[in-house]
C-alpha cells in the first residue's frame, strides 16, 4: 500500500523547500507520493526541475493565487 505524505513549505524561501523535499523523499518507498505545498515562485521552478531530473513523476497544481502543490511520485 503506497502512502501519501504532505510537506508544508508555505512561507519558506529558496532553497528550503527543495532541501526539505529532497530529505522527505529520501525516507519514502517507491510508489509513495509526496505533496509539497509551496508559495514561493522560485521553488515552483526548482523543485519540479529537480524531481524530473531524478526521474520521478511530477505534477504541479495551482491551488490558489501564488500557491501550488508539487506532486511527486517516487519512481525509483
Amino acid at each position: 500500500m503506497s502512502k501519501e505524505v504532505e510537506l508544508d513549505c508555505l512561507g519558506e524561501a529558496c532553497p528550503v523547500p527543495l532541501i526539505k523535499a529532497e530529505k522527505a523523499l529520501e525516507g519514502m518507498d517507491v510508489g509513495d507520493v509526496l505533496i509539497c505545498q509551496i508559495d514561493h515562485s522560485c521553488a515552483m521552478k526548482n523543485v519540479p526541475e529537480w524531481a524530473r531530473e531524478q526521474g520521478h513523476n511530477v505534477e504541479v497544481e495551482e491551488v490558489d493565487d501564488g500557491e501550488w502543490e508539487v506532486i511527486i511520485e517516487k519512481v525509483k
Binding site: 508555505l10 512561507g11 519558506e12 532553497p15 528550503v16 515552483m44 501564488g66
Partner: protein
Amino acid sequence: MKILDKIKTDPYYKAWLKDAWPYVTGAILLSVFQIVSLASAGTPWGVSGTLADWGAWLYQLVGGSVDKWYYFASDAAQAKLAAGPLKDPGTFRNLGLIAGALFAALIASGFKFKKIKTWRQVTAAVLGGLLMGYGARIAFGCNIGALFSGIASLSLSGWVYAVFLFLGAIVGSKLLVKYFM
C-alpha cells in the same frame, strides 16, 4: 466571466505571462536592459548603493546629517544627496524594479500575502538583510553593482567577487541546513 477563463487557458498567456521564462531569456534581457540603463543614466546598474542613499535621505528627513560620514564624504556623494531622490536615476530604477516585480506577479495571478510562520524565519530574514546590506556597502556593491555590472565593465573585481560569493554561498548553505532545517 467567460473571457477570463479564455485568457487563463490561452497558450500565449501561459507561455508569456504565467509561466517562468527560461534562464537564458532572463539573462539576455538583463544584459540588454543594463546596457540601456548605463547609456541613459551614465552609471552602471546597481541596487544596494541606492538603498544607502535612501537611508541617508530618510535620516536627513528626521533632522540627521551624514555630512561627516566617511561613506558620504566624497564631493560626488554629497552632490547626489543634495540633488535629492527625484534627480537620482538609481531611485527610479529601484522603484521600477519593485513595480515591475509586482506587476509580473499580479498578471500571473501569483500575488499572495505570506504568513509569518516562525520567529526563526523573522530572525533569519532580519539578520540576513543586515549582513547583506553591511557586506554590500563595505564591498562597494552587491551582486548587481559589484558582480553583474563589474563583469559587464570587464573589471577583474567582478570575477574576484564571483569567486568569494560562491565560497560564501557554500558556507551559507551549510549553516542553513544546520540551523534552519
